[in-house]
């Protein structure tokens, strides 16, 4: 694995500067059913293709960002900070 990610703050950087933070998922409401919490905690989509995910720029600006990455080709379509407009 040696692709690059574009950090919205620092520009294109080696993936080794980042920590992978998993799929972007919707956390259930606090009083959601156990079943829903179970799925959130223990199952992942494990998408083959494009997915939205978290990355932390550990050796850079130390901010969490989100990215759309193709898990097959490692092509990173977009990156943004989560408080920015996604589009």
């Amino acid at each position: 694995m040696s692709f690059q990610l574009r950090c919205p703050q620092c520009g294109p950087r080696s993936v080794y500067e980042f920590r992978f933070g998993g799929e972007v998922r919707q956390r259930p409401l606090p009083d959601a059913a156990q079943e829903e919490w179970y799925r959130y905690v223990h199952t992942k989509k494990n998408q083959a293709g494009e997915q939205m995910e978290w990355w932390f720029h550990r050796s850079g600006c130390r901010q969490w960002l989100q990215a759309v990455r193709n898990t097959i080709s490692n092509e990173v379509k977009r990156t943004w900070f989560p408080d920015e407009d996604n589009e």
């Binding site: 040696s2 080696s14 606090p30 919490w37 905690v41 978290w54 130390r62 969490w64 408080d83």
Partner: protein, 874 residues
């Protein structure tokens, strides 16, 4: 001129010589002994691509002599031969080849026991050089990270043209060439066009950075090239460059490979390009009489170069006419369809193979092209291109195999695999090129298939009746060519973190313990220096008088902003938004499955300002975790990592208050500064944060001050405590002190499945809060009793079980010890252990396996020392 040592003899080297060329000039013809049969082997490719001239240079094994520059004072040793290269006793192996067909040891040693008995002997006899010992590795290796708009691999005519073209368009170009100087085959073939003018232009082009004698060993995702550059400067032996390029141009050319016929591995059987290199690059007349195997203009060019060097040409033989080479140690002649010709050099114009490994690694498909007689790259990914003979330009096919199955026709010179071996393997059913490779190890030796791949594919296709395309090639993987392990490992640097009080500890006789990158005192050597006695003395100081420990390694974070309390309420299991300024609370982080991730304390400095401590090892995690829960919320909360900014100590013991009182104006009475309180005050004139907590179970204060003032505060406390015989204490005493209080260490007493409910800390999980991370899981867990419980135990004697010792019930392991120490206060061994919940009641008898026997212990619910916590609150 310089001299170097080869097997105890002095060898002269001319300027520009390699170890190989100097040895050849000095008359050396046998350079190595083969892997399996110990047959003599001589210079074959003279380009660093074959295994024949691997030697040990200055202790580093498997260096190709033919491309290793000769340097004054070098110590060069042969490999894999005993007692010498000329008379290798192990060459008797070739007379027993009928006992050792491909895969013989799979078939012979079918008992694992037998295999383990013979394996060391086989390994000693077969193989390559000996790896050096750790201390024998001289010199340094380094890594570098470069960026270029364009990287060109190959310094021949095509590579130089590409570099000039891109540079002309204003791009920054790095040109990587594995030769000592630019020019490619024009350097050693008089028939090639003269490139002096182009070389001149490239050298003068400011936009092109040339790396000579440097190898690209891999092309990875995102156009990342692994480049090995020898002797970049000073004492550095090799530099590994991680080169990221916007565009990669592969102009690696084509290399020559052997023909397969009987005795084709004899010293004196040499590729035509090897002979040309010896002549043109090193001014060596390679032999008196040569026979050239080849045809057409290529052979004519080789003949001309040999004649120019004064070599008599005894004949030019068409490849189809060759039968075998003859000779014992070295070639003495060649047998053809029409007769025998004596010679002392057999020059082979072998098939040219495009050096397309990097392109295949980048995702290109290699497709057979009959006209060029080569597998050519197609389907190149974007941002990678190929030019020159790597694409087939100028290549005309010659079949490699010139005979039937024979035990003396070597396909793979690395592992001594013959045409007979391939024939047998295919008949045994290994008829796919990938299984044939794995079964026979063809293409798996040091040359990584560069000498044998084409011949192996051709033979496999012939034996199976499939086309070259249907047979295909084996997968190309990095590293290609080989890379030294030292270069991959890089500089042997390891970061060390020292606390601000490091020198104080050193002077006090600290015995160090590595915790992550940190150095922490394990204990302080005093008196006899016996660890048990030292730890006991430190322990007693804390329990009876006063002790001081450096806790600067704790993670220290400041969180501030209107929504700081809201974030803490969300991430920590306890409630913090209601924590009054001046108060401290124990703090636990769980994940969404309720598992404990870290613990620490949180002090409220003001309504919107909190001081968070984390365990030493989990700071980075907690920092990232808090930032993740904050990301995208828009909350007004700001996290600052102050770990390196603050020094911290813990002053604890019955005399702690009297000690601290001497150097602070802060009112330390329990009425105004109770247990679990915090104050900002001056200590020894240094603005500090005082936190009254008690990990070790005595009255005590954690004191945080600016890092640069740490030694001053430490010294002042030691001085103030002198009248009470204050002692510095280390990690070992701290672990014993906290164990007597049954204070849990996350990651030692808990594991990756432990929830606060399992650990008996239900009180930290405020399930009445509307939401926090892990609430759903903990709510569910709280509704059913846990299966296991973390309890304290007291041994019935002074046996000291290891951490992890099993708790045994009815002959079966049902739990485990997490921590155990001899307790001075209980005068026996105490500890904590996971036990089944029906054995967790006070006084339950459990058995612990220690030192091969079962020892009885009793479960203790309360802390072993001061169970009511009165001493903490005094």
């Amino acid at each position: 001129m310089s001299t170097f040592d080869f097997d105890g003899h002095s060898v002269n080297a001319e300027p520009g010589d390699t170890v190989g060329s100097a040895l050849y000039r000095a008359g050396q013809r046998v350079f190595s002994r083969s892997f399996k049969y110990h047959r003599p082997r001589g210079l074959l490719c003279a380009a660093g691509r074959c295994p024949n001239c691997l030697v040990n240079v200055n202790g580093v094994p498997n260096m190709p002599a033919c491309v290793t520059p000769a340097r004054e004072g070098m110590v060069v040793r042969h490999q894999n031969a005993w007692p010498s290269l000329e008379t290798d006793a192990l060459s008797a192996a070739q007379h027993f080849d009928f006992l050792m067909p491909v895969g013989w040891y799979y078939k012979v040693f079918r008992s694992l026991k037998l295999w383990h008995m013979v394996e060391p002997h086989i390994r000693a006899v077969a193989g390559l050089g000996e790896p050096p010992g750790v201390d024998e590795i001289k010199g340094e290796y380094e890594h570098a990270w470069w960026h270029a708009e364009v990287a060109v691999v190959g310094g021949g005519s095509s590579g130089m043209a590409a570099a000039l073209e891109y540079a002309g368009r204003g791009a920054s170009v790095v040109l990587i060439d594995d030769q000592p100087s630019l020019g490619g085959r024009a350097r050693y073939q008089s028939s090639a066009a003269d490139l002096a003018a182009v070389r001149e232009r490239v050298s003068n082009e400011a936009g092109v950075r040339v790396l000579s004698r440097s190898y690209c060993f891999g092309l990875f995702e995102g156009n990342l090239l692994g480049v090995l550059q020898p002797n970049p400067h000073g004492a550095v032996k090799e530099r590994l460059i991680h080169l990221r390029a916007g565009h990669v141009v592969v102009a690696a050319g084509a290399y020559e490979t052997p023909l397969v016929f009987a005795n084709n591995d004899l010293p004196g059987v040499m590729l035509s390009t090897a002979a040309q290199r010896l002549i043109r690059l090193h001014g060596i007349k390679p032999a008196a009489t040569a026979v050239v195997v080849g045809g057409g203009p290529r052979a004519a060019g080789v003949v001309a170069d040999l004649k120019n060097a004064g070599v008599r040409i005894a004949g030019v033989v068409e490849p189809a006419a060759i039968r075998s080479a003859s000779g014992g140690h070295c070639v003495t002649g060649v047998k053809t369809d029409t007769g025998s010709i004596p010679c002392d050099l057999l020059v082979i114009c072998g098939p040219l193979v495009p050096d397309a490994g990097l392109l295949a690694q980048a995702g290109a498909k290699l497709v057979w092209n009959q006209a060029h007689g080569a597998f050519l790259p197609t389907g190149l990914p974007p941002n990678v291109s190929a030019v020159g003979s790597v694409c087939g330009t100028g290549l005309a096919g010659t079949p490699a195999n010139r005979g039937g199955a024979s035990k003396r026709s070597f396909v793979c010179v690395c592992s001594d695999v013959t045409t007979a071996d391939l024939d047998g393997a295919v008949r045994e059913g290994f008829d796919h090129i990938e299984t044939l490779k794995r079964y026979t190890t063809t293409t798996m030796g040091p040359c990584q298939g560069r000498m044998c791949q084409l011949a192996a594919v051709e033979i496999c296709a012939g034996l199976t009746g499939r086309s070259m395309d249907a047979t295909g090639v084996t997968t190309s993987r990095p590293p290609n060519p080989p890379v030294s392990l030292g270069a991959l490992a890089g500089p042997r640097h390891h970061p060390i973190r020292r606390t601000p009080m490091h020198d104080e500890h050193q002077q006090l006789g600290a015995v160090w313990l590595d915790m992550g990158d940190w150095k922490r005192p394990r204990y302080y050597r005093a008196g006899s220096g016996d660890e048990t006695a030292c730890v006991r003395a430190e322990y007693q100081a804390v329990r009876e008088r006063v002790g001081l420990i450096d806790v600067s390694t704790l993670g220290k974070l400041i969180l501030q902003g209107r929504d700081a309390g809201k974030l803490l309420d969300k991430v920590y299991t306890h409630r913090f938004s209601d924590l009054k300024p001046g108060r401290v609370r124990y703090a636990v982080i769980c994940d969404e499955s309720g598992v404990i991730l870290d613990d620490g304390t949180i002090a409220a400095l003001a309504g919107d300002r909190y001081f968070i401590s984390t365990t030493t090892g989990n700071l980075e995690f907690v920092d990232q975790w808090l930032r993740w829960w904050l990301a995208g919320t828009g909350w007004d909360a700001w996290l600052t990592n102050m770990t390196s900014g603050f020094a911290a100590v813990n002053l604890a013991g019955p005399k702690a208050r009297e000690t601290l009182r001497k150097i602070t104006d802060c009112d330390l009475s329990s009425e105004s500064f109770p247990y679990m309180g915090c104050r900002e005050a001056e200590v020894a004139g240094v603005r500090s944060l005082l936190v009254r907590i008690g990990f070790v179970g005595e009255t005590g204060w954690e004191i945080h001050c600016p890092a640069e003032e740490g030694p001053k505060v430490w010294q002042a406390l030691m001085k103030a405590g002198a009248e009470f015989d204050i002692r510095p204490f280390g990690i070992e005493a701290q672990r014993l002190l906290r164990l007597e209080k049954k204070h849990v260490i996350v990651g030692v007493d808990t594991d990756a499945l432990t929830t606060p409910i399992d650990a008996g800390m239900t009180w930290v999980a405020r399930l009445d809060k509307p939401d926090f991370v892990g609430r759903a899981a903990l709510t569910q867990a709280s509704q059913a009793p846990p299966r296991e419980s973390l309890v304290g135990f007291e041994m019935q004697d002074d046996t000291l079980p290891d951490d992890g010792a099993p708790v045994v019930l009815g002959g079966r392991p049902v739990g485990r010890v997490t921590s155990a120490r001899y307790s001075p206060v209980r005068q026996r061994t105490i500890g904590m252990a996971w036990v089944p919940v029906d054995h967790a009641a006070e006084g339950s008898a459990i058995a612990i396996r220690s030192g091969g026997r079962l020892v009885q212990a009793l479960v203790k619910q309360a802390a072993f020392h001061d169970p009511e916590g009165g001493r903490l609150r005094q």
